[in-house]
Amino acid sequence: MRRFLIALVGALLLFAAPAYAQEKKVLKIGWAQDPQTLSVFVDYDEESYRIWAISYDLLVNFSPDNLGPAPGIAESWDVSPDKKTVTFHLIKGAKWSDGEPITSKDVKFSLEVLGGNGALFTGYTDNVTSIQTPDAETVIVKTKKPDARIVGGLFIFMLPEHIWGKQSVKALTTTYKPQIPMVGSGPFVVTEFKRNRIVRMERNPNFRGSKPKFDEIQFIKYGSEDAVERALNLGEIDVITEVQEATFDRLSKSKGIKTVKAPSPSFTELAFNLCSKEHCPDAKFNPAVQDRTVRQAIGFAVDRERINEIAARNTSFPGHGILPEYYKDFYAPPEGDLDYPYDPDRAREMLEAAGWKEGEGGVREKAGQRLSFDLFVRSESQFNISAARLVKEMAAEIGVEFKVQVVSVDRLTEITTQKVDGKMAPDFDTFIWGWGGDPYDPSTLLGLITTKQIGGSSDSFYSNPEYDRLYEQEAGEFDLDRRKEIVKELVAISQRDLPYLVLTVDPTLQAYTTDKLGGVELACPKPDGDLICDQVSYQPWLTLGPPEPDEAGALASSEDDGGSNGMLFVVIALVAVVLVVLAVLFFRRRRGDQEAIEI
């Protein structure tokens, strides 16, 4: 037994203290979920997007400054006077990572095949009537009506036609998996993909821009978000691109770790069922929800700051309308009352003036109608549930009752999308959920409440011809200033009618260790965007690198000391344990012999 113990301790010591020697400049990023297949045609997870955005260009890239149009595969572009033809001039001499030239054939293939069949990429080219390639460096895109998304809003990755084009569309959208190493045009390309373990990206030798400072980026899969955060604390990884709300604050206070909180193009909204008899003859809901004054009163009664502070633990941003502040080029805060500053007295006055009098249980009533609404929320999001409880609490103050119902995401999908006889039949009064938009172009988010989207993405079933008209105008306007004016009008209308009360703008939460990562310049949009322009642009990777020696030198040496000290402690502790165990065994053995005689 003693021999066994000693052998065990010896074995443990032999394996202890792993050495992490490295010569290459490698950055390690931890995540709890990894990509499905990395095929642009089938995956729909954020992790894949993260990799694609580093591997590929767009026809027109997103500028890290303001996410506006910046040269991508196209160096420049001209818009025809009727705004229906855009001519792109491709960058000269650019090559794929395998050395093949990047040509107009690749662009045409990507826009047509990926834009027509990719799970996440259809819809962008709806207005396109033809794509012509008069020569290898020119692409002419024609649309049936002016579409501003053609420049700066075509979020379709440019793929090498000589690789993907060999496959049939059927294969691409079902079984095809990209060959490793993947061929791309970005600063890094995937050279290893082991599911459940690692995605390794190495420098693209043929990248046309400046040489990145890291040789390699590794994405390492852990079992859970907690394990990822532990790994960052232990220095096993250097960056986390998705920190949990619950632990963000604690990570911010850890030594040697910096956290980043950036606005994102997604928001969380309280949505109202505004479906008219015409669109939804069989819908079931409390008609009082369609009284605009009631919605506006709720707008004044809900303290969005408080929802951010309590439900989101201060990691989000209070919402100001349907377009998040992230859209720097288009965003203007709604003015005055249209921003719904927290004012419960005002809310009560409005309801009172509109004839809603307090009735049974403090719930206001008018002509047999009660201000009592179902509020559906999905069980997956603790944040949404807490937000719903706060909305309920705050609305109760003005005599509006919300009955919070926590349901699965499927159930919520069902009650917002169900149909009867081919017509929408939504079965809810209100719900809390969220949407995410494109990196630059505001049309996706603004389009959510157009009449055209009823039966599609619309889940408020709002319909306003004036809004629809302005939306069409906005989507076809290439002039930034004029477009911004129209967007402001659209936001004002949506704030007045309030199909959505946008509660918070969701954040991008990230963290990194300061001794491994330097050259940090938050971007997308500057100056307070995110660390790596996650899922949007590879530009930050050209400046990110190991920190300068004077920044990290002190940190590194003190860490080494800690390591060897720790080792010493363990040796002492283990020796002590072994001695104690041996002593106990020795004495017990003798006593045991004596006791045994009594059997």
């Binding site: 066994f4 599911r195 373990r197 699965s408 995401v409 995410g436 502790a573």
Partner: protein
């Protein structure tokens, strides 16, 4: 339960038609009974389908994960059997002593403590406070190993904490069974006879008592090996160990039903097969069973 395509529904550009197509592709538009018939038919043909998350055959996913689970469960069970048996013998030969009491207390404590708690405590002690072992994963990520030996040492280092956690969880059962079995044997007449012949106590215990007391342990090991195969979800998740448990966990979080069904099938089959093996072993080891 949920419809896996629901995750697509909030993507701004997934039209209802696209969602319908997806549902049809996975057979989710069929009635429940039809789906079940499909499942049974495929399973009989040993076709576990394609994982919805990774689009690889479920068998391939299981094949990748199984060796890691076997390594972890094998090491953990082996450690638990050896240490548990040894402690059981120590306690039984010192019945009623303080050693016995404290060992019993210790093993009941580790047996009843939740797995994830034990895992976290081990990580806190040996990866955070005194950083001697890695806190997770099965090998240093991204490392290019010079030799097989270097890789084996690296894997072994990563194996230490999770297998000790698993050992602590399983230890109690082996200890308690071995202890009571030993106590039974030690009170039998033939032990007194052996002692009366003047054989040293250590030899009596080792040669005569332990061998007889080991029988129930054989079955227990085999049965528990089967259970543990599919049941180390918490430990694998905490230590990011890429075995079947983590595979199941990921499948649950991403609603990957074919993957889950496949993993559970492997789990149930392994329980049944190992039970059978245990019964057969018993037959070989104990002549009394043969004659009965």
């Amino acid at each position: 339960m949920g419809d896996p395509t629901a995750q697509l529904a909030r993507l701004p550009r997934a039209t209802p038609e696209e969602i319908q197509q997806l549902r049809a592709a996975y057979g989710l538009d069929k009635p429940l009974l039809g789906q079940f018939a499909d499942y049974v038919g495929d399973t009989v043909r040993l076709d576990l389908g394609i994982s919805q998350r990774t689009r690889r055959p479920v068998w391939d996913e299981i094949g990748d994960a199984l060796p890691w689970t076997l390594l972890l469960v094998g090491t953990g069970t082996l450690l638990a059997t050896v240490v548990g048996t040894w402690l059981g013998i120590v306690a039984a030969t010192r019945r009623g002593s303080r050693t016995d009491d404290s060992l019993l207390g210790f093993s009941l404590f580790t047996y009843s403590a939740p797995e994830y708690w034990i895992g976290l405590i081990l990580i806190l002690l040996f990866a955070v406070a005194i950083p001697v072992f890695p806190a997770g994963l099965q090998m240093t990520p991204g490392e290019q190993f010079e030799s097989f030996w270097a890789q084996a040492v690296d894997v072994a280092q990563h194996l230490v904490l999770p297998s000790i956690a698993l050992m602590l969880v399983l230890l109690g059962q082996y200890f308690v069974i071995m202890r009571s079995s030993m106590v039974d044997v030690l009170t039998e007449d033939f032990i007194t006879v052996k002692r009366a012949t003047g054989l040293p106590w250590a030899k009596v215990v080792r040669r005569h008592a332990v061998r007889n007391a080991l029988l129930p342990l054989v079955t227990l090991s085999a049965i528990y090996f089967g259970f543990v195969m599919g049941g180390v979800i918490t430990i694998e998740t905490i230590f990011s160990w890429p075995g079947l448990g983590l595979l199941e966990f990921d499948a649950i979080t991403s609603k990957d039903f074919p993957m889950l069904q496949g993993a559970f099938l492997v789990f149930s089959v392994s329980v049944i097969v190992l039970n059978l093996i245990a019964d057969c072993l018993y037959f070989v080891l104990d002549p009394r069973v043969q004659s009965a």
